[in-house]
Subunit: 339 residues, 2 copies
């Protein structure tokens, strides 16, 4: 089978790169959620010892990369390449965390799909023989996101029922050419979908069509069905977006029913944590993948998942100019490791 | 020779992917500059027929991709993958230009280094056999950049002598597995450098150390010297940054003297166009590469160049918080085509 089929949007990774280690850093609210015990490091300090929330995000990425290297038994400088990005204007969380670290860095912008985008590119680079140890890294922070995308926290704006809670956290995964751990089988690159959703308080609805397009493309390109996976897990559709995706998929004859999960619905317990429609942000799918999901894959509780990071490609400027919210979704198929 | 040397930051593209076509869209000031006749499309309308400068940037990217496909004799949907990014918050120029186009898209953020970052990743994807036709695309706009990074234009702020003029333009290149045209030999991924420059009106100084680090790494990794290239061309150091790079290189024993050129110094004629230290922005290196440079390479006037996109990884937020400006530079080696 070719690595790539003409006219398709999926890559087959014939060398099956290994996710040799993973790390997750999370904030207080996340540590109190259902996955709280899975995270490598948590803190009750919103600022992570820094002066600003933006620098807190930088610190989280530094911690994630350092923890990742430690867990892999490496020095950080032994990581050959880092693919990373975040939600902050000009991705300053990512670039500042790698200042003078002497690690080659390629910056990404995929909004909340960044964990799957970075993982896909890391897998491609390793599978193609261009590097042996590549990190995929991202983060988000509730306070920096609220201020940048919506209102300053002190303003005390009322959140709509469809609103989601940006996860404070950073996740990192190390993709290597060989070793023990879950293996990356294939990846599907998303197309930008825009169905005219304009409500910046309802990102789930904006992203659901993109998730469907990518999951459908993946199944067609790879000649698979949802039954071939234990779990198809979207990044941060939240409760509203997840239900919409189920409905949209049903209409197109794609039965996701028992397979679909969403990191935005897993990372918080909405019955007690008052996060409205669930979690969101680059950190949402990142800390869920780089703790719980990769953990379950490595112990064999999960055999094969399709990890589908979802991103809403809006900016406050585009929203203020009355434009709709395009969505994108990139998918990575991961199989449990032979440990 | 291996595709990648352990501990190095360079990739060798053994299949030498071809730049089969290229396209450039430019604004009025750029059309009046020394390269004015090289651009595929120019306009005197700052808005490119749109309502806002951000949407003008979207329009430029649409035009660049469409022109690129036309020049290659393809439909846009025959392009299998697009790597693109821009300077706007959340890269809305890139994502909005690809809305509902049904072309797989991976978003990048590399500030003004985006043309070389996208070209490097396109080459890697094609060289590795993951796709046959991949586009690298980026843009910038003087008016959207001034408002976002500095002051609203109507404010009439005085520009410092070290300030650069953001290029209004978009460039696109199509990387293919075979065909006629300049060939991509190798690429070097940059590391994030920060020497403490805090003046957002002097980006050249902030980026020069990153350019030096990448050029040095490239020469060492590939066992080459500047003499092996006809031209080493940086993205947008401008006059100040270019002189600084020459001085820094000299100190480290790297003689760039007769070889160094900078797109920021080529795209405008500073003696008559009053752009202070030169051009800048993602569009600066993009339209210079995707018109003049690739043209000279295809006719054989240039035999081999090292294209070094340079990026200043600041945001207005980080500047207002008193932080310095990290820089990055990615390099791509391109050889004249056998036409």
């Amino acid at each position: 089978m070719a690595k790539y089929k003409r006219g398709k949007s999926s890559f087959l990774f014939s060398n099956q790169p290994v996710i040799a280690s993973w790390a997750s850093i999370a904030g207080k609210k996340e540590s109190e959620g259902p996955l709280g015990r899975c995270f490598d490091k948590t803190t009750t300090d919103t600022f992570f010892g820094q002066k600003t929330w933006e620098q807190a995000e930088k610190k989280m990425q530094e911690l994630a990369l350092k923890t990742l290297a430690e867990k892999a038994g490496l020095h950080t400088w032994e990581i050959e390449l880092v693919f990373s990005g975040d939600l902050l204007n000009q991705c300053i969380g990512s670039s500042f965390s790698l200042r003078n670290m002497n690690i080659p860095h390629l910056g990404l912008y995929g909004a909340c799909s960044t964990m799957s985008e970075s993982l896909l590119l890391a897998a491609l680079t390793v599978d193609g023989g261009y590097a042996d140890r590549v990190a995929a890294l991202t983060s988000s922070h509730f306070a920096s996101s609220e201020r940048q995308y919506r209102f300053p926290l002190g303003y005390g704006g009322q959140r709509t029922p469809t609103a989601q809670w940006t996860v404070t956290g950073s996740g990192a995964a190390l993709v290597t050419v060989e070793g023990k751990g879950p293996r990356i089988l294939s990846g599907t690159v998303g197309t930008v979908r825009d169905l005219g959703i304009k409500d910046a308080g309802n990102m789930g609805a904006a992203m659901a069509p993109a998730a469907l397009a990518t999951i459908k493309a993946h199944m067609e390109d790879m000649n698979l069905t949802p039954k071939d996976y234990d779990m198809i897990v979207t990044g941060d559709l939240g409760q509203v977006g997840k239900e919409l995706l189920l409905e949209l998929a049903k209409r197109e004859g794609l039965e996701l029913g028992g397979k679909l999960a969403d990191c935005g619905c897993m990372v918080f317990d909405n019955t007690v944590q008052d996060v409205h429609a669930g979690g969101s942000g680059c950190g949402c799918s990142a800390i869920t993948l780089c703790s719980h999901l990769l953990g379950e894959l490595s112990t064999g509780k999960l055999k094969k998942i399709l990890f589908c990071g979802t991103g809403a490609l809006l900016s406050p400027t585009s929203t203020q100019q009355g434009l709709p919210i395009p969505g994108v979704c990139h998918a990575v198929a991961i199989e449990g490791g032979r440990n």
